[in-house]
């Protein structure tokens, strides 16, 4: 009964989404406020209905209702409750439903909190948002219905893919989707601006918080996915340049560029046409990512099912939305009045440089991701583009950008003085150079590149800290005065500082953990001890255990480091329902570094292959992402964005400088 209700709610949501996609738009054209106002309650209703449908599916999972094909294929009655719930989005149908739920949530949020928006812009935005909703609701109902019934209902389910039975999976997709789908708002605003033929600094001020929100969730989602792959797949790697990872990374790169270009538009009324294009591009890349992951053109842990009709359907959605929005852009973009002028050396210039490098880097990732698909389609030749390609293309494009980051926020608008900024950054520069020297001296000449990389990370971190200090005139005025100035800085200044500082943290983690990693692959017999990077590791033997829906062979190890002992328990598991083995790594964290242990094959005489890594500062990679998202949150709490409707007088009074 509840299942039918969920199904019905989804159909009803589609009907209402059709209303939302047309009526408010017509109202905006006719300038009839009553018709436009329909958008708000309808958007709310669509969200409630999709939410009801999602809740119905969740109840089916919690109750292990195997009369639903979807539940039968992806759940098991013995599965722990948390994975019954997360299993809702651990499969194609459920994850698409989550996608649409978040899409509907965002349009409901605009309806609820967009009170300061001009009436017709809001109506148009909600209509555009509903076009995407309609497309994906039809997709779900026509090709990926999670409410398909089975008769007779089986007694037991087939269980969820074991590597997805992890707390990481409970968190990673929702975060990622909020990011991915959140960019739809920027897209809807861009398309609405093109339809209205009007765009100004206020537009950027409305779009920026939504973009920031989506961006910070995407940042967390990518980091979470990376950490999950790191501990769950048992290879100790945290980024594989897998097409599916790239699919989430490309919108992040474009979204980061969008965040920065929207600042120029908001503050200086410039780069309007480019910002609109970026907003369209960012969401197009999100759609492309959805296509790559969901269509089955790629095989990966994310491609749950390979059904060609779905691929063709999403490709259709992709072509209509990307093609349509670009056509609209080509047709209407000239109507937008170009904005103010600025010198190449200026805050605007620095932000243009940021955009240039980010989009170029994004383009190389796009080429690397799509080239194998295109080549295979054209010539039948199969190639694989992996880390070596991206290290050679993406890496060199990032280095000049990272070197320039500390300069950006310190340059003045319109016309900046590079020399004066360099003078203020001398402390950061000295810190970076000293770091390079120290690391090179400690690690030897073979690690010169690593030393430079860590120096660059320190440059980023020190440079980020310099900016608010310089603005508060610390050391130039009385201490009390500068502290008061520092506290009085707008929150967005601290957001910038945190974001750029975090970039340094992540870079530090990446360079240190890959250059100074120790790896040992050895065969160990019980009682044997090995040394790895200052840790003593003793293999005590294997123990058999039985879990709720698996059995496992646990290797019991004692690791001693700096006089402190701890037990580490890497395991090989067999999930009974699917008879599928997985490797569970054991991780011991010391400071920001980690000792990583995973098991290989058993040999004769109780011996086993052990792979041990010591990864110095590896935690900084993900901590950096968390701090980056925190920076986004701090920036989001800036009074300027909370207050919403910008009035010229208020703008002048706050006098906020932002980057």
């Amino acid at each position: 009964m509840l299942n039918e209700l969920g199904h019905y709610a989804l159909v009803l949501a589609l009907a209402l989404a059709l209303v939302q996609s047309t009526v408010p738009l017509a109202g905006a054209r006719m300038r009839d406020a009553r018709i436009m106002r329909i958008a708000d309650p309808v958007a709310g209703m669509v969200f409630l209905l999709v939410g009801l449908s999602f809740a119905a599916l969740m109840v089916a999972y919690v109750r292990s209702d195997f009369s639903l094909l979807n539940v039968f294929q992806n759940s098991h009655s013995a599965k722990p409750m948390i994975f019954k719930i997360s299993g809702v989005w651990g499969n194609h149908e459920g994850s698409m439903l989550l996608w649409v739920l978040i899409l509907a949530l965002f349009s409901a949020l605009v309806a609820a909190f967009g009170g300061a928006l001009p009436r017709s812009l809001k109506a148009t935005v909600l209509s555009v948002q509903a076009w995407v909703l309609v497309a994906f609701l039809v997709f779900i109902l026509a090709t990926s219905n999670p409410f398909v019934r089975l008769s007779p209902a089986p007694l037991e389910g087939q269980d969820l893919n074991p590597i997805l039975q992890d707390i990481g999976l409970a968190i990673h997709p929702p975060l990622l989707y909020v990011g991915y789908v959140g960019f739809s708002i920027a897209f809807s605003f861009a398309v609405a601006a093109l339809i209205e033929g009007r765009i100004d600094a206020a537009w950027a001020r409305w779009v920026r918080p939504w973009t920031l929100l989506a961006w910070l969730f995407l940042t967390l989602g990518i980091a979470m996915g990376s950490y999950w792959a790191y501990y769950e797949l048992g290879w100790g790697g945290w980024w594989f340049w897998d097409p599916v990872e790239n699919a989430s990374f490309m919108p992040w790169l474009a979204g980061t560029a969008l965040l920065h270009s929207a600042i120029v538009m908001e503050k200086r009324d410039a780069l309007k046409i480019w910002t609109i294009l970026l907003a369209i591009l960012t969401f197009s890349l999100s759609l492309l990512g959805t296509f790559l992951v969901r269509s089955g053109v790629l095989t990966s842990v994310h491609a749950f099912a390979t059904d060609p009709t779905r691929g063709v359907f999403i490709l259709g959605i992709l072509i209509v939305f990307i093609g349509g929005s670009f056509a609209l852009y080509a047709w209407r973009a000239q109507m937008l009045r170009p904005g103010g002028l600025f010198a190449p050396i200026s805050r605007e210039g620095a932000l243009v440089l940021n955009n240039l490098f980010l989009t170029a880097a994004c383009a190389t990732v796009l080429v690397g991701t799509l080239y194998p698909l295109v080549l295979e389609a054209l010539t039948g030749e199969k190639i694989s583009v992996g880390a070596p390609f991206f290290n050679l293309t993406f890496g060199p494009l990032m280095i000049p950008l990272l070197m320039a980051v500390p300069f950006g926020p310190m340059l003045a608008w319109k016309r900046g003085d590079l020399f004066a900024v360099a003078q203020r950054l001398w402390v950061a520069l000295v810190a970076a150079l000293v770091t390079v020297a120290v690391v090179a001296w400690l690690a030897g000449n073979t690690h010169l590149l690593a030393a430079l990389g860590i120096g660059l990370a320190v440059w980023l971190m020190a440079g980020a800290l310099t900016e608010p200090l310089v603005r508060a005139k610390v050391g130039r005025e009385a201490f009390g005065t500068s502290v008061r100035r520092l506290v009085g800085l707008p929150r967005s200044a601290f957001g910038t500082m945190l974001g750029h500082f975090a970039l340094g943290m992540t870079l530090f983690g990446i360079v240190a953990s890959s250059a100074f990693e120790s790896e040992r692959i050895v065969v160990m017999t019980p009682g044997e001890t090995i040394e790895i990077a200052g840790s003593r590791l003793t293999f005590e033997g294997m123990v058999a255990e039985i879990g709720p829906n698996y059995r496992q062979e646990v290797g019991v190890f004692r690791s001693v480091r700096g006089g402190r002992a701890a037990e580490m328990r890497p395991a090989k598991r067999i999930y009974t329902a699917r008879q599928m083995p997985t490797t569970e790594a054991a991780i011991r964290t010391h400071g920001l570094s980690q000792l990583y242990l995973s098991l290989g094959d058993a040999k004769e005489g109780g011996a086993i292959v052990v792979r041990a890594y010591d990864k110095p500062f590896v935690l900084l990679i993900w901590l950096g992402a968390v701090v980056m998202a925190l920076g986004g949150l701090v920036s989001l709490s800036d009074r300027r964005l909370r207050v919403g409707a910008p009035r010229p007088a208020a703008k002048r009074a706050s006098g906020a400088r932002t980057a």
């Binding site: 893919n161 590597i163 099912a305 010198a343 199969k382 293309t393 599928m580 290989g600």
Partner: protein, 149 residues
């Protein structure tokens, strides 16, 4: 700076960065991508130590030699030809004889294949796409057997 000079500066910088990006992509396309080969194709190739290859096929039944140290040996077959692969490290969880596998590495002068990474399936209903396609071409592949969910 006049308006024209400013515009030229921007266009110059944008052009330079894009040229760098395109140059890098072409340089990397040349030698940083790995080509997918089947054992039959590999048999006709001359070893080139600079060329990365993805070798795909089935793990031949009874060919897995786990040895006593951390290096394992097995044969990858497309049912026409087979090649010996050596790999140091831990094999993926789903590595099994008779199942699909993709090994990435370099063809050695002695005709064996030295792999630095081995990929097996992600779950029991998945066969590496490249392997499935290659086997399909040689009519050794039955759709119903593996690709059903």
């Amino acid at each position: 700076m006049t308006r024209k000079q400013r515009r030229l500066t921007f266009i110059g910088v944008i052009g330079a960065v894009l040229a760098c990006a395109v140059g890098l992509v072409f340089a990397a396309m040349g030698d940083k991508v790995a080509f997918f080969k089947t054992p039959s194709e590999l048999a006709t190739m001359t070893p080139d130590p600079g060329k990365r290859i993805r070798l795909g096929g089935l793990v031949e039944d009874g060919s897995l030699d786990r040895g006593t140290d951390t290096t394992v040996r097995f044969r990858v077959t497309d049912l026409n030809d087979a090649v010996t692969v050596s790999y140091t490290g831990i094999l993926p969880d789903l590595f099994r004889e008779g199942q699909g596998v993709v090994a990435e590495g370099i063809l050695q002068p002695d005709g064996t294949f030295r792999a630095d990474s081995v990929l097996a399936r992600h779950d029991e209903s998945y066969m590496p796409k490249e392997v499935a396609d290659a086997l399909k071409e040689q009519n050794h592949y039955f759709e119903s057997e593996t690709l059903t969910q």
